[in-house]
Symmetry: C3
């Protein structure tokens, strides 16, 4: 592991520091209990009390917490962001040897840019182009005429289908599938008939895609993932979906076909989003939200009945199912007391 002193880090990242300039760190640690010779950070003010007992050699803190640090401190307006940047110094994943592994299968007319690595068992098909400084891990398959931008980092066993275009500096985790056939089927006289998926998939710059996530190619036009989008693991993005720049989506979420998601949205885990709808910029969807229609305004949205003891839960479900009877009984009481001459609530059963 490389080692850096407080002084080196302060200068390299332009941060004020406190404490012994020679304090050295060779890795990171949690704030509590912390480890000697390691770097940590305080981002959540609720954990401020942990500063006093942390064994971390250097802690990155906001200015108002600098006094509470026991050892050495780096002072940053956004300690988590500063941590993210400094911690990269200790990330062994960032290093790889340039060159095509003898066990890789690269088509004669495929191109691999300068300084790039192609791992053993990887397959680069005819006409594909890999940019410079890219890491294509073992077992990846890059389809015909696909384009992968400079600085890509594909963990292992990533599949990029034919003609897909991936921007600069994209990081893709193992098992992801980029550009699979969209789920397009037409009813024929003898069953489903396949609708060719002739669009492609376009992925912007600085996109991250998680393990075993799937993004389908478009039916006619392309599926489009904007710059800076963050996709976690096991996400499904159907054909023709468009995702705006810097939107982040947590694991296990599915987005049905032709839906358009705005910019800077934050979408929780296991959210289900219907097809052919539009979601505005800056929308926050809480985990497990069920989205059946468009969302026109920024805001925070959720759905679902959270957990309960199973016995209580079953009672609740039974009560919900007899809400119609509740309502009738309530109306009868009102009628009896002549309290309500108004019209009965209608069912609004067209809302879904």
């Amino acid at each position: 592991m490389p080692t850096f002193t407080l002084d080196e880090l302060a200068q390299r990242f332009g941060l004020p520091s406190r404490g012994d300039a020679a304090t050295a760190v060779s890795g990171v640690c949690s704030l509590s209990p912390g480890k000697p010779g390691r770097l940590s950070f305080l981002s959540n003010p609720k954990l401020r009390d942990e500063l006093a007992d942390s064994a971390a050699a250097i802690v990155i803190v906001a200015p108002r917490h600098a006094d509470a640090v026991r050892g050495a401190a780096l002072i940053a307006d956004d300690p988590y962001l500063a941590y993210a940047r400094i911690a990269r110094l200790f990330d062994p994943e960032r290093e790889f040897a340039a060159g095509i592994d003898p066990g890789a299968f690269v088509a004669d007319d495929a191109k691999v840019g300068e300084g790039s690595h192609v791992g053993a068992g990887a397959v680069i098909e005819s006409g594909a182009r890999i940019g410079a400084g890219a890491y294509i891990g073992p077992g990846c398959t890059i389809g015909r005429d696909a384009v992968i931008g400079d600085g890509a980092w594909f963990a292992a066993r990533v599949t990029v289908a034919a003609r897909v275009v991936v921007g600069l500096r994209c990081r893709v985790q193992a098992g992801a599938v980029l550009g699979s056939r969209g789920f397009g089927n037409a009813r024929g006289p003898n069953g489903w008939e396949e609708v060719p998926q002739l669009g492609s998939l376009t992925i912007g710059d600085d996109v991250e895609i998680g393990a075993n996530t799937c993004i389908d190619r478009g039916a006619i036009d392309d599926t489009v993932i904007g710059n800076g989008v963050r996709l976690d693991n096991l996400i499904q993005i159907a054909h023709n979906v468009q995702i705006g720049e810097h939107t982040a989506i947590a694991a296990c979420t599915g987005i049905a076909g032709s839906t358009r998601i705005g910019r800077r949205c934050m979408i929780g885990g296991a959210v289900g989003i219907a097809g052919h709808i539009e979601i505005a910029d800056d929308v926050v969807l809480l985990g497990r939200a069920m989205v059946t229609g468009s969302i026109a305004r920024r805001g925070i949205y959720g759905s679902g009945l959270p957990l309960d003891d199973a016995r209580e839960w079953r009672k609740t479900v039974a009560r919900v199912r007899r809400l119609g009877r509740f309502e009738a009984r309530l109306q009868q009481l009102e009628k009896h007391l002549r309290l309500s001459a108004g019209s009965q609530d209608d069912d609004h059963s067209d809302i879904i």
Copy 2:
């Protein structure tokens, strides 16, 4: 791209046409805005107004919309189905060179049929048989004694486990796993013990299976997927499940063990289906449905509380949780007014 004239398409597909017989198309486009030299279709009557402005060279329409087409038209009773068939002419995925890539690993006693392709990095294990005219993409692994029918198209990195049988003309997207071990565990004195999964998986003809979808092999008898079934991406099908012919299932749906699904069902995305139940033919399950018991009759079914503003949602959840108190208050009122001598609603808490 190949090019076809209106006249050629009309003859080839047996469709009436209108307009200049020499109108040529070399690809497809969306109806709006459309593209010159491309083919489109009108399937949804609500989009009829787009016909007037579409730049598409040829549009496939139903007879009653033929007059509204600006350029050339092909006339079909089911324009989407006609489009599906014609668009295949422009699908570059359909072409591949026969032969076993030198980078493929094919066991000496495995068989690969005439006209089939096996991609680089693919592994065909001992005793496996691949039919004629099949495309086995790069990085696929076909287990011992597995059988893949004629005309298969396996995108890349598809895994077929030992002894699995796949019918004719099946299309499988990247990362799918066919015949993984079912989740069978018995409690032993020191923790879970594995229950061997000695059944296999049988897949019919003309089945489509999406990216990273998993289908487990049976515990004793086989898991069975009927002819013409359509499975989207990231679907889980547990051991011993049976899926009837021509049923279509959207992405992220999970089906627990030993459940039997009927024929021609339409199952939405992210549906969860419990184990050991039966679902009748022609059942439609809306997206995110939670299915805890058998469904005996065809029909449309759904579940769940759709999205709301998070503040409203939390209020709704709190109200649902005090439904028991609502009910008690209602009953007290009724008692007070001597309106109800009837029995109190019981909890029906056995419904789940």
Copy 3:
């Protein structure tokens, strides 16, 4: 298939038997209808009547059902567990030839233990160590300095990232990803910035991991999977999660970051568990449960509104949404009758 007699099985597994000692079986079958020359079991007492008609040659039963067996019987206190153990005799997956396939790519300084198999197309990177008697199937990728314990069985196309440690006798199904980068992102001035994930993943002994399941590596400390854990297919386990020993989790479940799950929990399919919470030992979560907070006590928990006819479902959703109005009407009645002087129920909208 190997063949065993009743007498051989009785002696080998220390079980009492009834019937002709020479009765031979060469495989397993379902109890109903059963197959001649095969072994079955009765675990669910409700199926006792099937014993009379079963064609199975030998049935494993509890002592109290021994009289009802038509043919030969093996008698065990836990027939399912006894079946699990005996059935392994017929599992062809358990046999493999030791040796490194010539089509495997094993780094010069990687180590593969005695009696282990490495399949074609598998990649073992620098510094990785595979234990003895392990099966590493075709297309697996084992990252730098990863450690895989003795007796591992990795089906095919399993990815183990750098530095991950996997215990003894772990079984991993195809497509699983162990040690992918956690989903850590910090907001920067120009969009998300990556937070390096410098922890690793530690997996105990005797763990089973399903097809296409993903387990992320930790951000700072390790993600930890305890001994004897059972994970089904398509599960997502985020960074820093800890799962206690012998917990079993069904398919499609997702667990967000830093959550700690107790020992011996049983977690159903498609459950969603929020991040940064704790779940006690011996908790049972029913399928599709939505867990938004910690669970301090063992017990059975569920959530969600199960299926209904779509028309009824829409009415129910509408009624739930006007619960606030119900409540107001109820209160007005009470006020009118001076029944309730108590305070109005508040919204408890802080529960989620």
